[in-house]
């Protein structure tokens, strides 16, 4: 009887495991079905190399380049800010801070992850944007940089917690060996601990990128959403996520515009899939 019960539970758990994968596959097919329908009316060349995103023009122009560059620009900016900060934070938590402080800091970083993105967007719009505008003397504070700063705060919890795991997972013997050879604490950290944890650090950066590139609400509120080809971080940009969120409400289901937004979603999905794949590879490498 007990065995029978156990079997059933095992099966249920197995089913749950497969259900998750099934959902991902279904979502992918759903995206692909509607996204690829765009290419019946617009050539892939126009979509992937088009420099103008103008879905309400006659005829409509669905060029993903400004949106793709907008997303990349905001993401790179966010990573450039969050990685150094996150790395320093992770080293401090994992290696330097006394135990009591470590627990407080970890809880604090996790709390940062609990802030809803709309709240970060709101703070970004009312406080950060005027600050950036005045600091650089710009005509508007709604720029890629503003988005990058806000998104950096959203990426930091992901980056710090995974980096810190990787750093604490470095075997004690490595550090002890280094210290025994006469290296100082700092030398041990950057010559022994960080290289030994490097694949975990890479994974954390990758997952941070994945977190940032998929973020929608905050970027829509603070990046200005002008679909220009961006030349600098101090310009308004339009990201792929903001485009989908902003335009989906007005499209007629089954129209070319609707399919174009799905095609953008497909590109976004492909990007995050590749990023997660590499992050996973890096994490597995560390385990070996």
């Amino acid at each position: 009887m007990k065995k029978f019960f156990e079997k059933i539970i095992e099966k249920i758990i197995l089913l749950n495991g497969f259900a998750c994968i099934l959902f991902v596959i279904l979502i992918f097919f759903f995206l692909a079905k509607d996204g690829l329908a765009l290419f019946k009316v617009s050539s892939p060349i126009q979509f992937f190399f088009g420099l103008l995103w103008n879905p309400l023009a006659e005829p409509p122009q669905y060029g993903i380049v400004p949106l793709l560059l907008g997303s990349i620009m905001v993401t790179l900016g966010a990573i450039a800010i969050s990685v150094p900060l996150g790395l320093a934070c992770a080293i401090f938590i994992g290696e330097i801070a006394p135990r009591w402080m470590r627990e407080i800091l970890k809880a604090g970083v996790e709390l940062l992850a609990a802030i809803p993105s709309i709240v970060i967007g709101f703070i970004g719009m009312t406080m950060l944007a005027p600050f950036v505008k005045n600091l650089f003397g710009l005509p508007t504070g709604l720029t890629a940089l503003t988005g990058s700063i806000a998104l950096a705060f959203m990426a930091i919890p992901t980056i710090v917690s995974i980096m810190e795991d990787a750093i604490t997972a470095v075997p004690r013997t490595y550090k002890e060996g280094s210290l025994a050879l006469g290296a100082t604490h700092w030398q041990t950290i950057y010559r022994v601990t960080i290289p030994a944890a490097s694949s975990g650090i890479v994974a954390s950066i990758m997952l941070g990128i994945g977190r940032v590139i998929g973020e929608t609400m905050a970027v829509m509120m603070i990046t200005g959403n002008a679909s220009v080809i961006p030349h600098s971080l101090l310009q308004p940009v339009r990201t792929m996520t903001a485009t989908i969120a902003a335009e989906m409400g007005e499209t007629v289901i089954g129209s070319d515009h609707y399919f174009a937004l799905f095609a953008v979603g497909l590109v976004l999905f492909a990007i995050t899939f590749v990023i997660n794949f590499f992050a996973d590879m890096a994490l597995h490498q560390q385990k070996k």
Partner: protein
């Protein structure tokens, strides 16, 4: 993403409950969805109507006129609020789903052009506005202002206001004209965002519904051609149609309204309902 979806869900659940009156078990539940411009107005009507009819329960949500139309087509709302007329494509889709679409004009809204209070430009023609938004006019000194680059702000494409402005101003009344918003134009997600940006930025220009105008911004007078007359948007100039940029705010239903839906629409069109329009800073029908 997952975390965001979850928090959004929790929030929306919370708001739904908050919006429900004590008589939760009421049978007369009406779903109203659509235009962001009209969401506050719809809420005001709903609150007053529910006060007078405690057995009725009305939920008003925004999302944009297109969202309302999509909900009407799929049959998930009783009344779709819209700040633009239904498109042929949407009409067809609604018919295909077996809906008999009815239209009601419930209020009027004027679109005000707004600039920073320090901006010396006091009047603009439709043609100049079109030039600004298509990127032909780039500097305020071309319009008699200071030598500063113009920062043009627009609503997002899911907004009925955006579509109205595109057709009536950017394309100067030619619905399918060749003009379009320049890529440099900033697309902001709400009218409030436009007001806050214009009030902070000396070089900005934007457009919002009359109800959103505050004294933190300046409203230039608008004329159809450079011979004038230049008219400022007010209750009176919108009602006598001398202000050129006004539009009807609409209700759409998926079938001949009856029961509570009919009572609600009658209430909206009544003297009392139109008084609420005035209080909410829109323009009443009469």
């Amino acid at each position: 993403m997952k975390r965001k979806a979850l928090s959004l869900m929790c929030l929306s659940v919370l708001f739904t409950y908050a919006a429900m009156p004590a008589a939760y078990a009421a049978r007369d539940m009406i779903q109203i969805k659509g235009s962001d411009t009209m969401v506050n107005l719809g809420q005001a009507w709903a609150e007053e109507f529910m006060m007078q009819n405690p057995e009725a329960s009305i939920a008003v949500t925004g999302g944009g006129s297109g969202t309302g139309m999509a909900a009407l087509i799929s049959g998930t709302c009783d009344i779709a609020e819209s700040s633009r007329e239904i498109k042929d494509q949407e009409m067809e889709a609604a018919h295909k789903n077996g809906h008999d679409v009815h239209e009601f004009i419930v209020a009027v809204d004027a679109i005000a052009v707004v600039v920073h209070p320090s901006n010396p430009v006091k009047q603009l023609t439709i043609e100049q506005l079109s030039g600004i938004y298509t990127g032909k006019i780039k500097n305020w000194n071309e319009l008699g202002g200071k030598d500063q680059k113009i920062l043009a702000l627009s609503r997002e494409r899911n907004s009925g206001t955006h579509v109205y402005f595109l057709e009536e101003v950017v394309r100067m009344g030619v619905e399918k004209g060749p003009e379009q918003f320049a890529p440099e134009v900033l697309m902001l997600p709400s009218s409030q965002a436009i007001i806050s940006e214009v009030s902070q930025s000396e070089t900005a220009i934007g457009y919002v519904g009359l109800g959103y105008v505050s004294d933190r911004v300046h409203i230039p007078a608008i004329a159809l051609s450079n011979q004038g007359p230049f008219v400022s948007p007010t209750l009176e100039t919108t009602m006598d149609k001398s202000y050129p940029l006004s539009r009807s705010l609409l209700f759409y239903t998926g079938r001949e309204p009856e029961g509570t839906v009919k009572n609600f629409i009658d209430f909206v069109l009544s003297e009392e309902g139109q008084e609420i329009v005035r209080i909410m800073d829109f323009v009443p029908l009469r």
